[in-house]
Amino acid sequence: MSTDTDYDDIRGVFGIDFRTADKLYQGLLLASAAFFFVLIMFPIYWMLQSSLKTREARRAVTWLPSAESLTFEHYDVLFSSDVGLYLFNSAVVTLGTIVCVVAVSLVAGYGLARLNFGHKENFARFLLFGYMFSPIVLGLPLYLIWQEIGLLNTRVGLIIALTAISMPFSVWLMWKYIQTIPEAMEESAWVAGASRWQAFRDVIIPQTQPAIIAAALFAFALAWNDFTFAQILLPRNEATTFAPGIFRLINQGYGAPWGDALAASMLTTVPPLLFAYFLQSYLLKGFQIRSL
């Protein structure tokens, strides 16, 4: 026979009964979510509303632009002036980086996952070591090398640099993901007469879509965000991307054109926001590390 337990002894956290504890928990969850929402959205919101104000209106630190001070003039920056060019360069570089990163890491990831050769783990770990170097250290040597090869001030040059930086992470991602695809799938393609390349193209690539998107997102974050490498490898103004460009803009002394800068900044925030909303599950999938 079972012992008689005093059921009221079993209690929730801090000795509160379970129903109340549950309610408190739910309350805490909501409060936390609200807190984080405000914490992150507030600066973004501030950026948005400030970019829609005229310069004078900004002096008065208010929550919303008033009817008169509401203006879209700063968004002209996209079409006029250097900023538009900077954004365009950023877009080109980012796109290029994404394509290269996906292509290279797919192939490398496949090799690591499927083909038998030694020291794979060590190779991958070795790649990770590269992150330990501060970019400014690599800066000047890179500058000199790029100058030698003639890639200085070219977008292609920056794309190569950024692709290289993304490598360790995305290769690791692809490798681990492809490992989860059963070999039986390729094998049935081989049995049907496909070559290794065909099987790779028709079986592996469609199946790695989540990892591809995750790698692309990661490459996007890296390239869109990059300041240091663009600063070093694209010293000439016309060629530079958004990050160093806007920095120079702000730093040109007094009367920093906040309106333009904020408007341009808003524009660079929109793609991330969209990706974060629509592709969040891929970001999570990509960051699921199983072992180091």
Binding site: S2, T3, T5, Y7, I10, F18, R19
Partner: protein, 376 residues
């Protein structure tokens, strides 16, 4: 202590999307009784179990443990044990710590905890595994550990959620007596959920057959087998399945006959239910074990032999007839030769069902009892 389910209902969603997973279940489980909820996937048995466990709350109805109303009580406070299909042993704890977990939460001192674990491990024959991690055990061993985890807590109610679904046939047969042993040892009410009717029949004191959210029948395994209350129960319980046909009930001066597949048989039922259905269509069921195969196709239902499945101690033979495919359990040496045969039915074993409600008309056991009743 008796577990009582009174009109337990569970509805998911609302408005036009509402899905009634469990519809007014009434069930009692006495102390020491082993009751199995059995039915096809999606019939609501797992949902019912979760309501009893406290992991889910019924939309209507009550659940009581003895005189305690536990309907709204959270799972932590019900003092139950629950065995999952996918086991859920903590990979980062040793087997011993896994088994001791419930006691640890209850605040039992370490020495006592480990003593109880040792006792349970001995009963379950897993003493060797105590220091290992769950990942290194086989599926069957893991289930024993899970059983041990529950055994150690000496719960007031023991619940099982399809624990053997992931195991192969051999393991299932090995584990069944262990389950019986453990539940007997604890002696509390047991509610077991499965879709495997063989498991239900071999383990239970009583079987509760569920379909589409409703209880079709509750009874001992023998009752459910011999006297199914509905067509569904007849076809769900028993292997191979009850063979069902469309037929007609005819009334004449001599009595009642049922006609199907071109044959006509006399039937009797002690109650007068037959009268209400006379002249109309009915469903006729017969278990494959009660069909005989004769060489003359004009004797009984004409059938063409399709194939045999020899099982060693008996054979399952498949025949094609005018009313569809029929399965017959034949003797172990039967070989069909794809020929023409006749299928003869034992009229005393016929089960009759209302063609609309599926309910059994009369009780077939009564007929048998008349014939096989022990001499006074």
């Amino acid at each position: 202590m008796t577990v009582t389910l009174d009109n337990v209902t569970r509805v998911f969603g609302d408005g036009s999307d509402a899905v009634v997973a469990v519809d007014g279940i009434d069930l009692t489980i006495d102390d020491g009784e082993f009751v199995t909820l059995v039915g096809p996937s999606g019939c609501g048995k797992t949902t019912t179990l979760r309501c009893v466990s406290g992991l889910d709350t019924p939309s209507d109805g009550t659940i009581t443990f003895g005189d305690r109303d536990v309907t709204d009580l959270p799972a932590q406070q019900r003092d139950i044990a629950l065995l999952f299909q996918d086991i859920a042993l903590y990979p980062h704890m040793s087997v011993r710590d896994n088994m001791a977990y419930g006691l640890k939460i209850a605040g039992v001192p370490k020495k006592e905890r480990y003593e109880k674990v040792a006792d349970a491990a001995e009963l379950l024959q897993i003493t060797e595994q105590l220091d290992k991690s769950p990942a290194s055990l086989s599926g069957g061993q893991q289930q024993r550990v899970a059983l041990g985890r529950s055994l150690v807590r000496d719960p007031t109610v023991f619940l099982f959620d399809e624990p053997m679904s992931d195991l192969d046939a051999k393991l299932k047969r090995e584990l069944r007596p262990v389950v019986e042993q453990v539940t007997e040892e604890i002696g509390c009410p047991v509610l077991y959920v499965t879709h495997d009717q063989e498991e239900a029949m071999t383990l239970s004191d009583r079987v509760a057959v569920m379909n589409d959210g409703e209880l079709e029948q509750v009874g001992t395994p023998k009752e459910v087998y011999d006297n199914p209350h509905t067509e569904f129960v007849a076809s769900f319980i028993g292997q191979p399945t009850t063979q069902l046909f469309d037929g007609e009930l005819r009334e004449s001066d001599d009595g009642f006959t049922v006609a199907f597949a071109g044959e006509e048989y006399r039937v009797e039922r002690p109650d007068d239910d037959l009268g209400a259905h006379a002249g109309g269509p009915i469903r006729v069921g017969i278990r494959p074990q009660y069909i005989d195969v004769v060489d003359d196709p004009s004797d009984g239902v004409a059938a063409t032999h399709l194939l045999d499945e020899p099982l060693g101690d008996e054979t399952h033979s498949f025949f094609e007839t005018d009313v569809g495919e029929v399965t017959v359990v034949t003797h172990a040496d039967f070989v069909g030769a794809k020929d023409e045969y006749g299928l003869v039915v034992d009229p005393d074993q016929l089960m009759l069902f209302d063609s609309q409600t599926g309910e059994q008309i009369g009780t077939s056991t009564a007929v048998r009892e008349k014939k096989y009743a022990p001499s006074a």
